[in-house]
């Protein structure tokens, strides 16, 4: 069985197609591992392999997938990590989950996450924190921490998550795996329990770049049920590049300069990765994103503002928890929300409501939207001179549980290098680039809208040169 677990998802799919292994056998091997998960990565696990023939000839060959809790899955618990959706089993399935099932990736289980995807450590879940498989005293990152930990620990062959300000890339970095946030609009958001609708995107968390490409290929495309989803131009290609010849990498001083707060070990690893990129043929030069250092501020106004509107629907009427149903209507609403939401979600609802309230709208939300324009312009200008912008994914490696929970602002700084791309709507990938003090470091590459295939190619070439061994936590 251990041999099965060692296969990447693409390799397992290959073996199934060649009739060397059976998809049900692979499903069962992972199902058993997921069911005995001691990282708290899973909140629900399927109890049997799916019925049906034809998997061996399907594109994804029956290789099962772990899905972040916030994707609605028909008849299966979907709570977005929140107590307020206790017992909720949606009557429909999210489009990307449906598309992956049609391509031959059945649902293995639902993964733990920060409540409503608000967090960078997975400590804000109603199900309790997820442990990092590299060091169980540390966080896996968030908000897609369960998906990242499950893939890193070999409890799932691959997974999907969502990224609003870094929620795929940062946990992928902290767990030593690959995470991809696609261009905004590339994947349908239908059936994702919404956090910030102008930023939320679904994407893969995988062991390597090839797996990410394979999964992403079957996730993208227009969906008539999400009017912000776009027809993807062309097909996501399987990455093959072996060099970075002619590739121009830009290093934004605003995000990785000495004032940016990047840890020493992470910085050293980042510099070593840049030198490796040069040996592969890339040119590395400083670039400017003059407004990037303001991205975090703009993000922490825009995302909570959108969240405060999106989360208004959780009021004890149509689904989930109801508290004080014998009181008057407003008391029932307010008490249901008091009991159902956790501390961070309340904080963001308050922040967002304040930023949108009469008298403050222009000063906060309006200003943040203008900063967003400047940030998008910064990226557009940079991509005229550079193919990709590169940064460390996270300023630091996995931190100890409870070490940042007392200071919300310190926690928000996790997203310093990932938020600018989210505001600009551009795609970005995090790949493991080695270890610092025994913990994984992530290297982020960002490209212009719809550059997914080129990004995957560059990441693939780098991945081969880095030769990262992610097997340690897969016991």
């Amino acid at each position: 069985m251990s041999e099965l677990i060692d296969l990447t998802a693409a390799a397992a799919a290959e073996r199934i197609r060649a009739r060397e292994i059976d998809h049900a056998e692979l499903f069962e091997a992972y199902r058993e591992r997921a069911a005995s998960d001691d990282l708290n990565a899973f909140v629900w696990v399927a109890d049997a392999p799916p019925n049906g023939n034809g998997y061996a000839d399907a594109a994804l060959a029956g290789v099962p997938i772990a899905v972040k809790d916030l994707f609605c899955t028909e008849g299966v618990p979907s709570q977005s990590g929140s107590k307020i959706l206790e017992g909720y089993r949606p009557p429909y399935t999210a489009t990307v989950v449906e598309k992956l099932a049609e391509a031959g990736a059945p649902l293995l289980g639902k993964t733990n996450q920060d409540e409503f995807a608000m967090g960078s450590s997975n400590e804000n879940s109603a199900f309790g924190p997820v442990l990092n498989p590299w060091d169980r005293a540390r966080v896996p990152g968030g908000s897609s921490g369960g998906s990242a930990a499950a893939v890193a620990a070999g409890l799932a062959p691959w997974a999907i998550g969502t990224d609003t300000g870094g929620s795929i890339r940062q946990p992928a970095a902290l767990c030593g795996i690959v995470g991809f946030k696609p261009t905004y609009g590339a994947c349908s958001r239908y059936g994702m329990i919404a956090f910030a609708s102008s930023l939320d995107q679904a994407g893969p968390l995988t062991r390597d770049v090839t797996d990410a490409a394979l999964l992403l290929r079957h996730m993208v495309g227009h969906d008539r049920r999400d009017s912000t989803s776009l027809e993807y131009p062309g097909e996501i290609a399987v990455p093959r590049a072996e060099s970075l010849n002619g590739i121009r990498l830009g290093i934004p001083g605003e995000l990785v300069g000495t004032d940016a707060g990047v840890d020493q070990g992470v910085r050293a690893n980042f510099d070593a990765t840049l030198r490796l990129a040069e040996t592969l043929g890339a040119t590395v030069e400083p670039c400017q994103l003059p407004h990037a250092s303001h991205a975090l501020s703009a993000y922490y106004l825009i995302a909570p503002a959108e969240a405060s509107a999106n989360l208004a629907r959780f009021d004890g009427v149509r689904y989930g928890l109801r508290v004080d149903g014998d009181a008057d209507l407003t008391t029932m609403y307010s008490r249901t929300r008091e009991v159902g939401f956790g501390a961070e979600v309340k904080r963001r609802i308050m922040l967002g409501t304040y930023a949108l309230s009469s008298g403050y709208y222009d000063a906060y939300y309006g200003t943040a939207q203008k900063v967003r324009t400047k940030i998008a312009e910064d990226f557009a200008a940079a991509f005229e001179r550079f193919d990709f912008i590169v940064t460390p994914t996270s300023p630091w490696t996995a931190f100890e549980l409870n070490s940042k929970t007392a200071d919300p602002l310190a926690m928000y700084l996790n997203d310093f290098c990932t938020v600018p791309m989210s505001l600009a709507g551009t795609p970005a990938i995090s790949i493991p680039s080695g270890l610092a003090d025994g913990l994984p470091v992530g290297f982020q590459l960002a490209g212009p809208a719809f550059s997914e295939s080129r990004l995957l190619d560059a990441a693939y070439a780098l991945e081969r040169a880095i030769g990262f061994d992610g097997s340690a936590p897969r016991r």
């Binding site: 089993r89 922490y300 308050m350 324009t373």
Partner: protein, 95 residues
Amino acid sequence: MLDREQVLHVARLARLALSDDEVERMSAELSHVLDHIEKIRELDLDGVPPTSHVIDVVNALRSDEPEPCLPHEVALASAPEPLHGGFGVPSPGAA
């Protein structure tokens, strides 16, 4: 700086009951976060158009054709209080 009265006002707008402890904590934490965020107000943003959405899609329309929707009982299956084929709620006036 967000004082106690402002916190209670925003909580009312958000239909969120808060304990006394939470009001205290919220006042301190939100003020701390807003102090940091305030820095963007120093930027010169005169004449910059706001961005609400990064993709260039306007008026995404589809043909208006009726199609099947969720059956009634399925839509009500998760409701805390299904009532006469609808969602039951307490009276706005009851107390």
